[in-house]
């Protein structure tokens, strides 16, 4: 599997964020997007996720499911957690499992894997920022997608949570998955760096 972008140009609010950007990542590989604030890391992730429109260039995926857009083979873990405060942990995760995947994946295993088993019946409104992040990470586990698009994935996670997430990412890579992550802090896994924007 190979995800690549050629000559990408992104414009937001009438201003050019970046232009002429190339990137490439293969299965089992993690690409870390680095750059100063506003360089366009999140924009690139959202372009790959199909949430922004390309002004120029193309993004292609070789070796994935044929005739399926990249977005539908990818998970997007953004700044916002996509959790409903009035639903419990299990209900939130159960909704995304049913909505995103058709397989009857094991919810409890997903909740246990991120260390939230004790809070499964708690409404998401009572979760801390780190717990909310853990719950959105569980989404990546219950529905399998080959591409993970991660935006500052380790923010709000404690040391233990970060270690846990490193393990999950390594698992994903070992299965032949692919990670593109925007980050300021080292992810803790072997990565290839892609610098976006001028060095400041």
């Amino acid at each position: 599997m190979r995800l690549s972008g050629r000559d990408l140009r992104c414009v937001r609010g009438g201003r050019e964020v970046f232009a002429g950007l190339d990137f490439e990542a293969g299965g089992g590989e993690a690409l870390a997007l680095v750059g100063h604030n506003g360089a366009g890391k999140t924009s690139l992730l959202r372009l790959i996720a199909g949430l922004l429109t390309l002004e120029a260039g193309s993004i292609t995926l070789d070796g994935g499911e044929p005739d399926t857009p990249v977005a539908e083979q990818a998970h997007y873990l953004g700044h916002r957690d996509a959790l409903k405060p009035s639903l419990t942990v299990a209900e939130n995760l159960g909704f995304w499992r049913d909505f995103l995947g058709d397989e009857r994946a094991d919810l409890d295993a997903g909740i246990r894997a991120v260390g939230l088993a004790h809070a499964a019946e708690l409404p998401a409104a009572y979760l801390s920022a780190g717990q909310r992040r853990r719950l959105s990470i569980a989404r990546l586990l219950v529905v399998r997608r080959p591409i993970w698009l991660l935006d500052e994935p380790t923010s709000a996670l404690d040391v233990k949570g970060q270690e846990l997430f490193v393990g999950l990412m390594l698992d994903h890579l070992a299965r032949g998955g692919l990670i593109v992550a925007a980050t300021h802090t080292p992810l803790g896994i072997p990565v290839r760096e892609l610098r976006i924007g001028a060095v400041q």
């Binding site: 409903k84 909505f99 995103l100």
Partner: protein, 222 residues
């Protein structure tokens, strides 16, 4: 189908829990209708004549009240991004969300109508007629209102804008809804004529609404 069922179940669950919109809509409906006799005065004949119009206006405003959160809540917490990325066509997801909204916020209004009809001096058959027209007409309110709700996502704080956009679109529904109820109560037009047109408007908006809303959501991505 699993995906659409999941959306409908989730939205109904959220609407029925504390802070959800279902109860607020009914309470608002109740308040508007209870206020009317105080404003109009104790003239029973007049109340009976205005009854269907008051119930329809109340239902229209109550459904508008909860409609603006239809997409903005999902946009704010990031759920909308994942919904747009998913394999389920956005048009179908929009239709499922509107259906859930109607089940949670529209049906309770219809159930409450006979009780409120008593306050407006409507007898059993008149209340039944209003209920029938609301049952046929409120889906049109939800599905056209959904277009405005989708536009409100693009424009931050579009709550009031929603009312300005959606209310003109609901004029035909209001006209034929009220005239069908009047036809059933006092005549002289047969009930069937305006009622059929009302059903036609509902069917039309069931088709148009999801497509327009999905197009507007895609446009508003950023």
């Amino acid at each position: 189908m699993t995906a659409l069922g999941a959306i409908v179940r989730r939205d109904i669950k959220i609407a029925l829990r504390v802070g959800g919109g279902a109860l607020i809509g009914v309470l608002f409906f109740l308040t508007v209708v209870v206020l009317m006799p105080f404003a109009v005065g104790p003239d029973l004949a007049l109340l009976k004549r205005l009854g269907p119009a008051i119930l329809w206006l109340g239902a229209l405003l109550a459904s508008l009240l909860t409609l603006d959160r239809l997409f903005t809540a999902d946009a704010e917490d990031g759920s909308l991004d994942l919904i747009v990325m998913s394999r389920t066509p956005l048009e179908l997801t929009c239709a499922a969300k509107a259906l859930a909204h109607w089940l949670a916020a529209g049906l309770p209004l219809i159930v409450a109508t006979p009780v409120l009809g008593l306050l407006l001096n409507l007898d059993g058959s008149a209340s039944l007629a209003v209920m029938a027209t609301l049952l046929a007409g409120t889906p049109a309110l939800t599905f056209t209102g959904m277009i405005g709700a989708a536009l409100a996502v693009t424009l931050r704080r579009g709550g009031l804008l929603l009312a300005v956009l959606v209310l003109p679109l609901s004029i035909p529904v209001l006209i034929f809804g009220v005239s069908a109820s009047q036809a059933a109560i006092v005549g002289p037009v047969p009930f069937g004529t305006p009622f059929t047109i009302l059903c036609a408007i509902s069917l039309f908006s069931l088709v148009l609404g999801p497509f327009a809303a999905a197009a507007s959501l895609r446009q508003g991505l950023d």
